[in-house]
Amino acid sequence: MQKNAEMYWTGLSPDEARELLVKKDKSMRDKRMTLKEAVDTFIRDGDNVGIGGFVNIRQPIAITHEMVRHGFRDLTLSWQSAGMAPDYLAGAMMIDDSHFSIRRIEHAYWAHEAYGLSPVFRYLAEKGLLEIEDWSNYNMSARFKAGAMGLPFIPTRGPLGSDIVKTSRTKVIDCPFTNRPIALLPASNPDVAIIHVQAADKYGNCIIRGTDCTCAEIAMASAHTILTCEQLVSHELVVRNPKDVMIPFLAVDAVIEVPFGAYPGACRRHYYFNGEHIAEFHAAVNSMRKDGSPDKLKAYYDENIFGVESFEDFIASFGVKRLLADQAAESLNCERLR
């Protein structure tokens, strides 16, 4: 625990992050590839992976499935609030930590709001299998922002007065202008960002509908970004109003069109939550929490992730009616002519 309060960089240091960006090819070139190619190319064992979205909104689910198929060791995962994305990654660790393992998380919240707690998080944390650094939502968002700004730290009010100060690398100083305490949070510069959005061009310029969450900050803070999108469209369409672009191509390394890429979570304009499927997954996790037997959870992974060719097969397994219903539910949230 003491270790947490000492300073060390868990992803890239600010100077390493800058150096990698300076050396990077920033040209506006075609970055389309398969999910498999993207995950093979840009993620390594031991990496700090920044996860986009918020709870079960626009989480990069398709990318996490591909990561699980690939297998990784000793990852650090960073996000503000997340649900199914870390659930899928950490669930893979529950069934076989020689194939997939997470060493550390830096986060504010891991649960599902209306869909309850994360039994995956409870299982791993309560067994002491994860190193945890707790922050708040603004703390994590501001840490990514500092990383995206090329700063080593950013000042904030939260987490003053809380035990987050004790269990994290926060430093509290007396403000040299007001003499009152202020918290300084170390920047987060992940090795790789995984982000799902509504629309992108082949260069990586992308449009986010609904809340931006902290996606742009995570992408711009990271050394590399894998971007999935519901819809791959022409450059001209994406930049028709340049202010709709939330992440510029400069910050993106791989672009993959993956319809339903955040499912069973929600994606504005495309589909609302499939809460039943979230519950089904959690039931399999809880079965292992209860009696230690990984059978049901293993069956879930075999059926939905290891046993499919691609994420498209996973989505197809829901059937047309269910997917249409979730699209229809979302269309009530943002009625518009198509």
Binding site: Y115, S136, G158, T211, N333
Partner: protein, 264 residues
């Protein structure tokens, strides 16, 4: 207005929460019951209430229904401004949020909250007895909203002398000006809504104080369910039960699928 006779503990919390909210004020809405309470307030006495959701939405009319998440598509439609989490929290840190609405698994007499872990702290931080979801935005709301409203189910194990982990700072250790000295903003905890009562904080000592008891409860029964000594306001009265119309609105109009307000 006819009083309801079959309201649930969650329903009276929602009604109490709604009534504390003032019209035309800005409320930073946490996930769960605060969303239901804010929507009820907006549909009753506070149509000009301005909800802010931490994922970014500012001032949505919520005409498309109860969000299931503070980042929900339903928080976006018709909003006056939406960026992302940084923008929402920056506004809060600036002073835009009159109220913040937060919950926790454990609270102490100064309104400090724990939503991180149950177990042995600090030694057991990395291997807690029960791992809770974590702060989410609660710690930030506690640090920067002008006033916070706390929701905690009333239970001796949840109202503790000493928290196992302080996730969201309240009046800290209750000393004068403690929040300001710690670099925090805002006046801190304003009301606590439990399953038994509404409580506030003594001006001087910053200690939690019984303000109103829920129907069927007394000052004694509330104290009985509390793990520290409560102060008692001079004029404790009984909070009127929810009306049938309020209960109907919660059950039929606002949360028909029992996303947050469970009936069973």
């Amino acid at each position: 207005m006819t009083a309801s006779t079959d309201y649930t503990a969650q329903e009276i919390i929602v009604v109490a929460g709604a009534k504390i909210l003032e019209d035309n004020k800005v409320v930073f809405v946490g996930t769960g019951l605060p969303m239901v309470a804010s929507l009820l307030a907006k549909l009753t006495h506070a149509p000009g209430l301005i909800p802010v959701f931490e994922a970014g939405a500012v001032g949505p009319p919520l005409g498309v229904g109860l969000p299931l998440s503070v980042g929900d598509s339903k928080t976006f439609t018709g909003s006056s401004y939406v960026k992302g989490l940084n923008a929402a929290f920056e506004m809060t840190q600036r002073g835009y949020a009159d109220f913040g609405f937060i919950g926790g698994a454990e609270v102490d007499m100064y309104g400090n909250l724990n939503s991180t872990m149950i177990g042995d702290f600090p030694d057991g931080y990395q291997i807690p007895k029960v791992r809770l979801p974590g702060s989410g935005g609660a710690s930030d709301m506690a640090a920067s909203c002008e006033r916070t409203i706390l929701i905690v189910p009333h239970d001796k194990r949840k109202f503790n002398e000493k928290l196992q982990y302080v996730t969201s700072p309240g009046h800290l250790e209750g000393s004068p000006n403690a929040r300001f000295k710690a670099g925090l903003q805002g006046k801190g905890p304003y009301r606590v809504i439990t399953t038994k009562a509404i409580l506030d904080f003594d001006e001087e000592t910053k200690r939690m104080r019984i303000l109103r008891t829920f129907p069927g409860e007394t000052v004694e029964s509330v104290q009985e369910a509390t793990g520290f000594e409560l102060l008692v306001a001079p004029d404790v009265s009984t909070f009127e039960p929810p009306t049938m119309e309020e209960v109907r609105m919660i059950r039929e109009d606002i949360d028909p699928h029992q996303a947050f307000v469970k009936r069973g």
